[in-house]
Amino acid sequence: SQTIHQWPATLVQPVGSPLSLECTVEGTSNPNLYWYRQAAGRGLQLLFYSVGIGQISSEVPQNLSASRPQDRQFILSSKKLLLSDSGFYLCAWSLLGGGQAFFGQGTRLTVV
């Protein structure tokens, strides 16, 4: 069966520090991968999606970037965190483009 792992679960980082959140999927090949940020009253904002290794689509201009160095690995990064980057970040995968998504457990990021 397929599983998705996302870590860490919580993270507290100072302003200006770098960020790396990792997400890996097991039990499937060539999944579509997604990064979302969830905020109260704002739903899930799609940040990035990827249809294959090295293929990243960015939804909104921001202080974050994403990479997909391997088929089932999706990384969310920042060179210098801002206070406004605080939030709950969710990784997800789907078998088909725009198909049913399966979510990781999420990372609560607090920038101080």
Partner: protein
């Protein structure tokens, strides 16, 4: 841009009342539509989905949704809610490799 919109972010109703949550999408071409639910302190889980075929979709826990292409809508319904239906509900639309979510409806069911 392809998007999904939900209205009436906060909904409060009594047990046994009927629930209907609106969802409108703006997608060109083929679209897959979903409703997800997030119970307090839990992760997102799928309620139901529509890819094609019968526009009336039955989901888990007595929920259903109707795809109306002419109205670009995919509204969620439940005839009689229970206290355990208190949760946040998200509509989502997928197409062209994207999967976008609405802002959610916070539903509170009063016993």
């Amino acid at each position: 841009a392809q998007s999904v919109s939900q209205h009436n972010h906060h909904v409060i109703l009594s047990e046994a009342a009927s629930l209907e949550l609106g969802c409108n999408y703006s997608y060109g071409g083929t679209v897959n539509l979903f409703w997800y639910v997030q119970y307090p302190g839990q992760h997102l889980q799928l309620l139901l989905k529509y890819f094609s075929g019968d526009p009336l979709v039955k989901g888990i826990k007595g929920f259903e949704a109707e795809f109306i292409k002419s109205k670009f809508s995919f509204n969620l319904r439940k005839p009689s809610v229970q206290w355990s239906d208190t949760a946040e509900y998200f509509c989502a639309g997928g197409g062209n490799n994207r999967l976008a979510f609405g802002k959610g409806n916070q539903v509170v069911v009063i016993p």
